[in-house]
Symmetry: C2
Subunit: 153 residues, 2 copies
Amino acid sequence: MSSDGFLLPLRLFVGFRQLIDGVHAELAREGHPELRPLHGFVFQAIGRDGTTAVDLGKRLGVSKQAAGKTLDGLERLGYVERSTDPHDARRKLVRLTDRGVEVLTRSAQIFDELRAEWAARIGADRLDELERDLVTVTGAEAFRLDVPGWFGG
Amino acid sequence: MSSDGFLLPLRLFVGFRQLIDGVHAELAREGHPELRPLHGFVFQAIGRDGTTAVDLGKRLGVSKQAAGKTLDGLERLGYVERSTDPHDARRKLVRLTDRGVEVLTRSAQIFDELRAEWAARIGADRLDELERDLVTVTGAEAFRLDVPGWFGG
DNA sequence: TAAGATGGTCAACGTGGTTGTCCAAAACGT
DNA sequence: ACGTTTTGGACAACCACGTTGACCATCTTA
């Protein structure tokens, strides 16, 4: 029956990867070749309001240390900046720089474009259905950022 | 306008991850707690006929060294064994052990079961459609094993 | 005020991937 | 046949990311 059970996860992943690669190929073309798939999710988790390393770790399902390290990299690349919280000397607020916000904005646009391409290929209604079915099946589950460690380590 | 473009990749990934986690949770219960998501794909790439490190690397889209390292780990865990090729003293044939074949077999069964659960939830026809649409959109693309490096590194 | 919780950083370690280098064995070409 | 590639494997160095454990400064709370 139906099809081989191996196919489903494979196809889901290939779809995921193509979208992510599509966005990063375009971002690279627009002057952000250093960004990795990982970073896009970090940007989104930081959001326009900013966060702290601990909070970021919680949102992404990794340790505060791991979140801190990723932030270090992003800071070095100029996408993020840290400042001390005037109300709490322990906290360091993390904010996207203008460059960071730009990436966030462009990513959203490019994802929308890619989605539109998919819609053009299989039909907008089918794509909506696909997405809806996926939500039905997977439920409300948060995205975990520990992909490298999860998959391999 | 339909939905947020961010949702699509997220949902695809969550679906992928749930299936993979489902399989590995069950495998862990059945005596294979050391296996990582990565390994499942390696098992499948090795197949019942076996391969070599170089060939495995090609199939999975990683360097022969990376493939070799992964094989080292699997060998240490007793899922794989190497033997010299009688016709070519350079080659080392890699084969699944009985334990390895067992995992491969069970994985396929569990994937089928999980797929059946999905079918029960959204309908078998919808799931078939979903899979078909995914194939239409993503085309015939091979799975790359370099997920850790791809995502994060 | 003393005790506890919280935010951040450093260090050590493990896994995975990459490139570069080397060697032995097979394949090839003249 | 013999010298020259090519090929399979292994080793080393290096980078990215994840984890846990420890430590300190600061805020909270009893």
